[in-house]
């Protein structure tokens, strides 16, 4: 499987879409942090605000699925779906003598790495640097760092579930446009669930999805029970999504 991971990393490194997204998100993130830190844009009631880290308010959009799905789906579309449709290189990969399960897992690992760099690492690093400069380091208190570690640790787990979902969509559709569209629809449906659905049973189900847990990860206070529940939901969802993805890919006929 190492061979496929190395090949996937090489492809990601050579993919213009990855660099365009990384540069775009970097610029956008810096711009938002500057707007907030200079007082041009006021944000209140964000999870960071509630945790006393208002200097990091610029990170808020990057933890909302309806926003970050645009970057993840675009990355998946131009790295994964394009291989099925635009250039057909998936044929060479499937015929390369690697097991399909390994190919799928390598794609998941590298797509997740790319998505984490774009959606988590770049905004977080630019945010921490900007906030660090503006607050002279006051931001990095022990409680602040513990909160950030716990929140981003949990968020990372549920974010992996999201990249696994997008990868599954890319493998099923095998088309750039459809990958972006269906990911957007999924995020919009989940957003609608969160905001509109009040029926208790459906609400209960929704609260046990990783989508809801993406939000829960940034709660200021989280009991040990809730933390464990969130971790359990994340791990179970990830395993289930990877199992579905591997099964679909193993049965997929390559055109």
């Amino acid at each position: 499987m190492n061979n496929v991971i190395r090949a996937e990393l090489y492809k990601l490194y050579k993919n213009p879409a990855f660099w365009v997204l990384a540069a775009g998100v970097g610029a956008l993130s810096i711009f938002m942090h500057i707007l907030i830190l200079t007082g041009w844009w006021h944000m209140t009631g964000t999870p960071f605000d509630l945790a006393g880290l208002d200097g990091l308010n610029g990170l808020s959009p990057f933890i909302v699925p309806l926003f970050f799905n645009l970057f993840v789906s675009t990355l998946a579309a131009y790295t994964i779906a394009a291989e099925f449709s635009r250039n057909g290189v998936i044929k060479n990969q499937v015929m390369s003598g690697n097991k399909r399960m390994h190919i799928f897992l390598a794609k998941f690992i590298v797509l997740s790495l790319g998505a984490v760099i774009i959606v988590i690492v770049i905004p977080l690093v630019t945010g921490l640097i900007s906030a660090g400069f503006s607050s002279g380091g006051n931001l990095f208190t022990e409680s602040g760092l513990i909160y950030l570690s716990r929140a981003y640790g949990l968020y990372f787990l549920h974010f992996l579930c999201f990249t696994a979902t997008v990868l599954l969509i890319a493998v099923i559709t095998g088309e750039i446009g459809k990958t972006i569209l269906f990911t957007l629809i999924l995020s919009a449906v989940m957003f609608a669930f969160e905001k509109l659905v009040t029926v208790s049973r459906i609400r209960f189900l929704y609260e046990h999805t990783y989508f809801f847990q993406l939000d829960v990860a940034f709660n200021q206070f989280l009991s040990a029970g809730d933390l464990l529940k969130s971790i359990f939901i994340g791990i179970l969802s990830l395993l289930l999504l990877l199992y579905c993805g591997i099964t679909v890919f193993q049965r997929k006929e390559i055109q």
Binding site: Y10, N87, G88, V94, N98, I254
Partner: protein, 307 residues
């Protein structure tokens, strides 16, 4: 070790709108160049997709390198190189970068392989030019370079001369022949251009509407297409003796059904018929026969189309 590189038995592939392949039995021996001939849509690419593991048969079995276990296809794929339909390449990468991706995923140690296949396919001077700026012929060559990476034992090529200019076609043919001759590479090549395959293949398979109509060696194909006089007389043994003794026409054969095929005297049929009748033989059938490759193929698929 099996002498067969590939054996497919009763291979069938059904899509929603009907059968793409029906009960295909095909065998490719080590060192052969197998030419699969069929019109567009005959099922060639579908068959190649099944062989390479890109798609799965509805029924039937495929044995690669003597192993028919579908779970162990990856091991066989490591020993194969293929182009299916069109070369699958990254347009934003150079030739070297494309080959690097495939080198990494195949786990081939050493970058010298890349230079080797680039030289072999005449792409060594492509430099930093990205594949999206390549001509169709260059893409085809790069596709073959990808397939040759790692020294495969079995090369599968689907319409490999598509987009190549006449010089490119000749070079490609010579390259495949050279690899077959020098390295014992087994080649499975599909095309709808019979004349092109004829110069390359040692065994031919004719496919039409998802069915394998006929399989034959080049020698058998030559025999079938050779011009001759078909003669049927009341006493074939005597007829053969007459041809041999009075006409010294050694180049003939008597078929199991008594039909005599005479490959000489094509311009002097009167002498043949005169010699036979003078010997008291009754001529039941006398005709000129033999096809060009194209007309043989057309007859073959025409007959199938009328079924």
């Amino acid at each position: 070790m099996s002498e067969y590189i590939l054996r497919a038995k009763q291979l069938t592939k059904k899509f929603k709108n009907g059968f793409a392949l029906q009960n295909i039995n095909i065998s490719v021996k080590k060192g052969e160049i197998y030419g699969l001939i069929g019109q567009n849509g005959a099922g060639k690419s579908t068959l190649l997709r099944l062989i390479t593991g890109l798609a799965f048969p509805t029924s039937g079995s495929i044995e690669r390198f003597g192993n028919g276990n579908p779970q162990e296809i990856a091991a066989a794929q490591k020993r194969m190189g293929a182009i299916i339909e069109h070369p699958a390449l990254f347009p934003n990468m150079t030739a070297k970068e494309n080959l690097e991706v495939h080198r990494l995923q195949k786990g081939i140690p050493g970058k010298e392989w890349i230079e080797k296949v680039l030289k072999l396919t005449g792409l060594y001077d492509a430099g930093e030019k990205k594949v999206k700026h390549f001509s169709l012929g260059m893409k085809q060559r790069l596709g073959i370079a990808v397939a040759l990476l790692g020294d495969p034992e079995f090369l599968i090529l689907d319409e490999p001369t598509n987009g190549l200019d006449p010089t490119g076609i000749v070079e490609m043919r010579e390259l495949i022949k050279k690899l077959n001759r020098e390295k014992g590479l087994t080649v499975f090549i599909s095309s709808h251009i019979l004349s092109e395959l004829y110069q390359l293949a040692t065994v031919f398979g004719f496919i039409h509407k998802g069915k394998l109509l006929e399989e034959m060696t080049k020698k058998q194909l030559d025999e079938k297409c050779r011009k001759h006089i078909r003669i049927k007389v009341d006493n074939p043994a005597k007829g053969a003796m007459v041809l041999d003794r009075y006409l010294s026409a050694g180049d003939f054969e008597v078929m199991p059904d008594g039909m005599i095929k005479l490959y000489r005297y094509l311009d002097d049929v009167r002498s043949v018929s005169a010699a036979l009748t003078k010997s008291g033989l009754i001529i039941e059938h006398f005709s000129l026969s033999g096809d060009s490759l194209e007309s043989y193929y057309t007859k073959l698929i025409g007959g199938a189309g009328n079924e």
